[in-house]
């Protein structure tokens, strides 16, 4: 490995004279350049970050205090009017009930992912095949997934054909009622994202030292006990991360319902509603306020999670 050769090379170079020579003449300048160095590295990343992420957020914040319609050259300060309207119109928050479907779906998703990860961490035939199959949907292009499942839920499409093959002939309109539509869409979401959770869990389980299992086997621990006392503690950090991602993900679902139903028949989510406020009814001011509120909610959820499951492993700093 490279690092060992470098270490070996170190003593050869006469470092001693170089050091003091550099430090002695201009301590102030060195200190200054030392202080400047990190910023030199950060200048490009920060510029991009501020330009393409924070400038738009600042704009959004500014718009949320106006009545701007999204395109007109004129707008008026309206103070906190948009926020007052948001908070007094309870129907705007009813769409969060839809998030409930996705929340339930992500519980199912995590449980399934955990189950398959556990099962496949033991010796199973065709293990790599199953692993690949479960993970692959996560890699597929979202537009392609939209088309695949539009065909799946069509009248006389894949699902209907399979059911009639099994002798359960039905002409149920899968996207036809709010319950059925949301369940179907949440199902697609599980189909698509299960793979990521699964692979994360599997990775965590496999990083648990093998001796622990061996010791457990010798002690005669059952599979359940192995799960309970070895696997579960090992995956706790990643489980926490998955939960937090699921909650904030459920609150800001957008792509799948937008492509498949456009929010019809009670499948409208908060983000779709925001997009519609902005683009259909030209209430960009109100929509910006809604986006700010969503951002705050997501931040709050993250903060609560950090409080409950303090976990330095998934922390950046």
């Amino acid at each position: 490995m490279t690092d060992t050769t470098r270490k070996a090379a170190r003593p050869v170079a006469p470092a001693a004279p170089a050091g003091p020579k550099r430090a002695a003449p201009a301590p102030r300048r060195t200190r200054l350049s030392r202080r400047l160095t990190p910023w030199l590295f950060l200048v490009a990343p920060l510029a991009l970050l501020l330009t393409f992420t924070y400038a738009p957020i600042a704009n959004m914040l500014a718009y949320s205090f106006t009545d701007w319609d999204g395109v007109s050259p004129e707008l008026n300060w309206t103070g906190t009017e948009n926020y007052t309207e948001l908070l007094t119109r309870s129907e705007l928050f009813e769409v969060f009930f839809v998030s409930g479907y996705y929340l339930v779906a992500s519980v199912v998703q995590i449980v399934l992912a955990l189950y398959f990860a556990t099962v496949l961490s033991f010796n199973v035939r065709f293990r790599n095949f199953f692993k690949g199959v479960l993970f692959f949907p996560y890699l597929i292009n979202g537009v392609a997934i939209g088309f695949v499942f539009l065909y799946f839920f069509q009248d006389g499409g894949t699902l209907d054909s399979v059911l009639s093959l099994l002798g359960v002939g039905t002409d149920h309109a899968w996207l036809g009622t709010p319950f059925s539509a949301n369940t179907s869409l949440a199902g697609v979401s599980v189909w698509r994202y299960l793979g990521l959770n699964f692979v994360l869990f599997l990775g965590a389980i496999q990083s648990i030292p093998g001796e622990l299992y061996e010791a457990a086997e010798i002690d005669g621990a059952s599979r359940w006990h192995q799960f309970r006392y070895i696997i579960a503690p090992g995956i706790k950090p990643i489980l926490g991360l998955s939960v937090i991602l699921s909650v904030s993900g459920s609150l800001s679902v957008f792509e799948i319902p937008y492509i498949m139903t456009g929010g019809a028949t009670g499948t409208e989510t908060f983000v779709i509603q925001t997009v519609k406020l902005a683009f259909q009814f030209n209430k960009t001011g109100l929509a910006s306020a809604a986006a700010v509120v969503l951002l705050l909610i997501v931040l709050a959820v993250t903060w609560v999670q950090r409080r409950i499951v303090p976990d330095e492993k998934v922390d950046l700093v």
Partner: protein, 276 residues
């Protein structure tokens, strides 16, 4: 003993069931892509096999009329430049954050962290004004800049990795007279290879699959990427599921091939991307 056998059988059953659930929708789309429009019009059931399993007409149609060739070209260019840029930017940021203690360091870290939580769709109007003011609208630069500028995950991956590189290496190089930049270039960067592989995979798949940014920023038809070109099938081929299916398969196929050949790297990539 028997209980163990039953349990084993149930486990396999669940795995097979899951396999079916995953593969069925995809298989049907594949089957549909091989059917002729006549078969479709005559009400060929979703599960029916195509009359001619070697009928690739729909692929020809999709590839030619759907302009998939230039789409793959554009995607490739964006992919290479954006991923390359992300690697540079991500590793530099991570190096600066991990190896230096400077004022506002916490603020910088928080800025990057917070950015990951913003629902992107909602700030599009403002983002558009900015992209356009740089004259990048309707050019490949728009998605490239946005992919490089708003990527947090790769910074995170590099950060995790740099932490595991002993600081003593830096010190040694510094004693050799290397300045910070030389240390980054000669010591740190070469040691980041596994992290780079991870970023290439995670970022590459994101870029390949992204829809909204190219959709919004590159309306010209000759600037289509695979997502937008496939999306445009909705119009002219809207009634032809066989062509849409062929297009979908064309888009999925490269992903499948990459996945089959680089499986191990991909798993490691995603696992490392989130944990470490």
């Amino acid at each position: 003993m028997t209980r163990r056998t039953v349990a084993r059988a149930l486990v396999y059953l669940s795995l097979i069931l899951a396999t079916l659930v995953v593969l069925l929708p995809l298989t049907v789309v594949f089957l549909t892509s091989l059917k002729s429009s006549k078969e479709m019009a005559n009400g060929s059931g979703a599960l029916a096999l195509p009359d001619d399993p070697l009928n690739f007409d729909n692929y020809v149609t999709a590839f030619r009329d759907g302009q998939m060739l230039s789409a793959f070209g554009n995607t490739a260019i964006i992919l290479v430049v954006a991923v390359g840029g992300t690697i540079l930017i991500g590793s530099m940021t991570a190096y600066a954050i991990d190896r230096f203690h400077f004022r506002f360091r916490k603020l910088v870290v928080a800025l990057f962290l917070l950015a990951a939580l913003v629902p992107g769709v909602t700030t599009q109007v403002a983002t558009f004004q900015i992209v356009n003011s740089f004259g990048m609208f309707d050019s490949l630069w728009a998605p490239i800049a946005l992919y490089m500028g708003t990527d947090i995950v790769s910074i995170y991956i590099f950060l995790q990795f740099i932490r595991s590189i002993p600081v003593s290496l830096d010190e040694a190089a510094r004693l050799d007279g290397a300045n910070a930049f030389a240390i980054y270039r000669k010591v740190i960067f070469p040691l980041l290879k596994p992290a780079i592989a991870t970023v290439v995979i995670v970022k590459g798949i994101n870029v390949y699959n992204d829809f909204y940014i190219p959709f919004l920023y590159m309306p010209s038809e000759d600037l289509g990427v695979i997502s937008t070109s496939l999306f445009r099938f909705k119009g002219p081929f809207g009634a032809h599921w066989e062509t849409i299916s062929a297009g979908a398969v064309l888009v999925i196929l490269p992903t499948l091939l990459v996945f089959l050949f680089l499986q191990r790297f991909i798993y490691n990539g995603f696992t490392r991307g989130a944990t470490k």
